[in-house]
Symmetry: C2
Subunit: 66 residues, 2 copies
DNA sequence: ACATTATGTAAAGATAGTTTTATATTTTTG
DNA sequence: CAAAAATATAAAACTATCTTTACATAATGT
């Protein structure tokens, strides 16, 4: 699962810790998601979408076929 | 997390088993998601959105505050 | 160059999503 | 009404997400 979190952070000059804070998850969770270690839960994806005023599809890109 | 899976199935006259099959998960997973027992993973939400040609937000509705 | 801040990584443990198998209940159909 | 199909539910096991703690490396600012 690709995502634009790093870019969205950069546009706002936010650190991973800032974003983690805004989404109320740990910094490591943000780092792991940005690095593609695992996918965010659906509720977390919704929270991120709300935070950035974007659709989930505008932040996360699914790479699985079908 | 509310969702419109039951309605979307009904519109197509699909059973839970049919949908499970289309999404390649078990029938119990569909049932549990429809009944709100747990949230689908983000990849599964993407799969459902692709299947129905809808945005994730048009199928699932997050209820958490913030 | 040094100090500070940000990012990457890892292990252990908790919680949530998913499968499999099995059974019970409800709905649909003949 | 009886049979069949669909839905609900449950337990055990497995995998994935997420937290906490801790440390290492990279980037930034003075």
């Amino acid at each position: 699962m690709k995502n634009r979190l790093k870019v969205l952070r950069a546009e706002r000059d936010w650190t991973q810790a800032d974003l983690a804070n805004a989404l109320q998850v740990s910094r490591q969770t943000i780092n792991a998601i940005e690095k593609g270690k695992f996918d965010p839960s659906l509720p977390l994806a919704f929270k991120a979408a709300r935070l950035f005023n974007l659709k989930i599809e505008e932040i996360f890109e699914d790479e699985t076929e079908n």
